[in-house]
């Protein structure tokens, strides 16, 4: 009898030989982004949000100016004398933190909701899925704005708002997968045993419904970065003392008219690069993990 060497179906881990396929350009760039964000306090010339480290009189200096702190303002300074390069590194921390945490939390909530809807059916299904429909029928921005306005400012509130915006997508995908899994006889088999329902859902149904949501995750992280940046740009996002890339862009917006392009432009580039990279990574992951797209 031939025994295949694959790992369990569903969430398939690529085997050793194909680890090389992870060495793609988008993955490397993303790894650099994350490394910079993590190492920001070590490699940035200054903490732009520590007043003691900022020289207020060196405001709006163009890129390449030598600063009095003994380093070069490679990307210039903003209207308050903060080093743009350092601001980008610190902003990256907040942007990545907010988007990754919110996307993961939304995935957990959405998966649980979707799988429960599929398992229980009837009114549970109707209730959860109508909320999902309602959620998805409203513009994302509007939902986020309402959430922020109601919840108030703060990083935790932003994360909460982003979870509210994102969970419905996961729920819908998870429900359709779980519905087809629930029709398989291994679920019937455990249903004839005195197993707690919660165990059937979390031990049997959920693990087998996770794979498609995994392909959604990177793309949703990309969305979250963009959404958070938009909210921050509008001044509704993260608080001023913990600025993200979005609020850094917003900081320099008023200076664009007077020719001090660098204050907005460089954080904007960083943001664009981050979102594009995440989307490329997401596309790669979808190809690797989604068996249907792989076979084509």
């Amino acid at each position: 009898m031939k025994i295949s060497t694959f790992k369990p179906t569903g969430f398939k881990m690529p085997d050793r030989a194909s680890y090389r396929q992870f060495l793609t350009m988008p993955n490397i760039v993303l790894a650099c982004y994350v490394a910079v964000a993590l190492a920001a306090p070590l490699i940035a010339h200054q903490n732009p949000y520590d007043p003691l480290q900022v020289y207020g009189w060196e405001a709006s200096l163009p890129p390449g100016t030598e600063g009095s702190g003994g380093f070069n303002y490679l990307l210039g300074t903003d209207g308050l004398g903060r080093d743009i390069a350092s601001s980008i590194m610190y902003g990256l921390r907040i942007s990545l933190l907010v988007s990754i945490v919110s996307a993961l939390a939304a995935a957990v909530i959405g998966l649980t909701a979707g799988v429960s809807a599929a398992y229980f059916g009837r009114w549970v299904d109707a209730l959860i899925m109508r909320v999902v429909d309602l959620q998805l029928s409203l513009p994302t921005m509007l939902v986020a704005l309402i959430a922020i306005v109601t919840l108030g400012p703060g990083i935790d509130r932003i994360i909460l708002a982003l979870i509210i915006v994102q969970w419905a997508t996961y729920a819908r995908v998870a429900r359709s997968v779980a519905l087809s899994e629930a029709g398989k006889s291994y679920i019937d088999a455990v249903r004839t045993m005195p197993l707690p329902r919660i165990r059937i859902i979390f031990r049997h149904l959920l693990p087998n419904s996770i794979a498609p949501a995994m392909t959604l995750l990177p793309i949703e992280i990309g969305h979250a970065v963009a959404l958070e940046a938009t909210l921050s740009f509008l001044g509704l996002g993260v608080p001023l003392d913990q600025p993200s890339l979005g609020s850094t862009v917003a900081n320099g917006f008023q200076y664009l008219m007077t020719g001090q392009y660098w204050i907005s432009l460089f954080p904007g580039f960083a943001l664009f690069g981050l979102i594009a990279t995440i989307n490329f990574v997401g596309e790669d992951m979808r190809r690797i993990w989604d068996p249907r797209s792989r076979s084509i």
Binding site: S185, Y186, R191, T192, P194
Partner: protein
């Protein structure tokens, strides 16, 4: 072959070898296969899954060959070697000279096109420029050939409006449209009920005899081969085990493997055997009275459209004496699976009474908590019956742990004792389901069902997804366990012979009703019910005694 026969065979396959260069090295799918097919002949290629029989069929049709890294040997059609032809020339052959019929009649037809148009499309592709009226005339003629009643009326039907047997007839008609000399039929009747299968085989045989068609019939079913093939090629692991005239192979098989295959085919014994003296019937473990179940009524669609409640079960009654096996036989749509699912608490019944082990079951809703674990099911497809992300040990341990709640702590040794009893090596305990063979998976499912210590086991077609030789093993394992442990079982199947081998009593179902019910001897030997007789007659005579 004598020197006087100068005619070349219509199709000659010589030393065909197909190999894949896979990740784990080279895999030989087909090894040194040679056979010939004459005009007006039916050649059966029989083998279990993985024998390479479908690959040979596809090689003849010209669907594979290029996809193999290494292919050797020749396929000569009317003396012309196929591998010397260009893709275009091969494409011309397809349909006109070689046509094919596949197993799945549902996916072989376009659901959005009427069957007449699909057939007409094929005709006009083969004879370009035919006027519409002529195409229609030929279409209706072809539909008539394959035994479709009212072919003119059926011309404008969509595939979903036809039954499975009718759809497969349309597929055959499409294959016939180019008046090919060879048809390659890959499991053409495996998705059909026994009575329909017989009709389709009769049509194919009739076409071979009347229009001189040659047929390559690829199947796993000895009965199909016995019914219509002139010659048989028996395959195993990509190689030919034996090939000869059908009667020789069936009556006088030379090779051990062929003998095993033949002996694994369940046989039906019609002569009323020495009826085992029935002692007084023990108290029944299960009594079902007037169970009914309908689908489709009462929902929103029913409110808006016409309320079209369809009965899946209508006033079905049965009883299973303690320690006995009841067989429920029926064709697809007869309601046999619905009964099983209601008994296991997976579905609810509309009305009727189910008494299990002296206690009345609440059938008005699924998942009656008080009876969880008392009825265990064994399902048709073992590949879907085990959680793919749990090892065998985890699956069995879960069953033990949660059924222990009602009975007090259980000894974990029970798991290894049970797997030993099921003939499963202990090393398999750490495997995931996809690392097991179909038969091994089904053994794990049986072990799981038994570990729950049920009062009743419901086995729903537990062998129909397995190879013939494995089927026989699973049936005898089930039979043995039931006898040893004094369990009661409801065994649902479409196969009369399997049911006869294992069951004490048999119920025959049709369209949601219990057509015939009685002890096994009575049903097979003396029952005068017309439908029962029809089911028995649909079986190939050679496997009936």
């Amino acid at each position: 072959m004598s020197a006087s026969t100068t005619t070349t065979p219509l199709l000659e396959v010589r030393d065909l070898t197909l190999r894949h260069n896979g990740r784990g090295g080279q895999t030989t799918i087909v090894q040194n296969v040679s056979f010939t097919l004459g005009r007006g002949e039916v050649l059966g290629i029989i083998g279990e899954s993985g024998a390479g029989k479908s690959t040979i069929g596809n090689a003849v049709i010209g669907l594979v060959g290029k996809s193999f890294e290494q292919s050797f040997g020749t396929i000569r059609l009317d003396g012309v070697a196929l591998e010397t032809l260009s893709d275009r020339e091969r494409r011309k052959l397809r349909g006109k000279t070689i046509a094919s019929i596949f197993q799945d009649h549902t996916s072989s037809l376009d659901p959005l096109m009427t069957v007449g148009n699909q057939l007409g499309e094929t005709i006009s592709a083969i004879h370009p420029g035919l006027p519409r009226s002529e195409i229609r005339r030929r279409t209706i003629e072809l539909l008539g050939w394959v035994g479709i009643a009212d072919p003119a009326g059926r011309h404008d039907s969509y595939p979903h409006q036809l039954s499975g047997g009718q759809r497969q007839r349309v597929v055959i008609a499409i294959a016939l449209a180019g008046s090919p000399s060879i048809i390659v039929a890959d499991e053409p009747t495996s998705a059909l009920d026994a009575t329909v299968q017989k009709q389709i085989l009769d049509i194919l045989r009739n076409l071979v005899d009347t229009i001189g068609l040659s047929l390559i019939l690829i199947t796993h079913d000895m009965g199909v081969v016995a019914a219509i093939a002139d010659k048989v090629v028996v395959m195993k692991d990509g190689e030919i085990v034996e090939q000869d005239a059908t009667s020789t192979v069936l009556e006088n098989p030379k090779e051990l493997y062929t003998q095993q295959l033949l002996s694994a085919v369940p046989r039906l014994h019609l002569s009323p055997s020495a009826a085992h003296s029935q002692p007084e019937e023990p108290a029944p473990i299960l009594v079902v009275e007037n169970l009914s179940r309908s689908f489709g009524g009462g929902n929103i669609r029913g409110l808006l459209g016409k309320p079209s409640a369809k009965f899946a079960l209508k006033n079905v009654s049965l009883r299973v004496p303690r320690g006995s096996v009841l067989g429920i036989v029926g064709e697809s749509g007869s309601g046999k699976t619905t009964i099983g699912r209601i008994l296991a608490g997976l579905e609810k019944g509309d009305s009727g009474k189910v008494t299990l082990d002296g206690r009345a079951r609440d059938i008005s809703r699924s998942g009656d908590e008080g009876l969880l674990g008392h009825v265990q099911m064994i399902f048709q497809d073992p590949a879907l019956s085990l959680n793919p992300r749990m090892t065998v040990a985890e699956t069995l341990r879960e069953c033990l742990r949660f059924t222990a709640r009602k009975e007090g702590p259980r000894n974990p040794d029970e798991i290894t004792r049970m797997t030993d009893r099921m003939g499963l090596a202990r090393t398999l305990l750490s495997r995931y389901p996809h690392q097991l063979s179909g038969g091994q998976k089904q053994r794990v499912c049986i072990a799981r069902a038994l570990l729950a210590r049920p009062a009743l086991i419901v086995a729903d077609e537990p062998t129909s997804a397995l190879d013939v030789s494995v089927q026989a093993e699973i049936v005898s394992l089930l039979k043995q366990t039931v006898t040893e442990s004094g369990l009661s079982m409801v065994f649902i199947s479409h196969d009369l012979a399997i049911v006869q081998g294992i069951c004490d009593a048999v119920g025959i179902m049709k369209d949601g009703r219990m057509e015939d019910f009685g002890p096994s001897d009575f049903i097979f030997g003396r029952s005068e019910n017309a439908y029962t007789r029809r089911l028995i007659d649909a079986r190939p005579k050679i496997f009936t005694h």
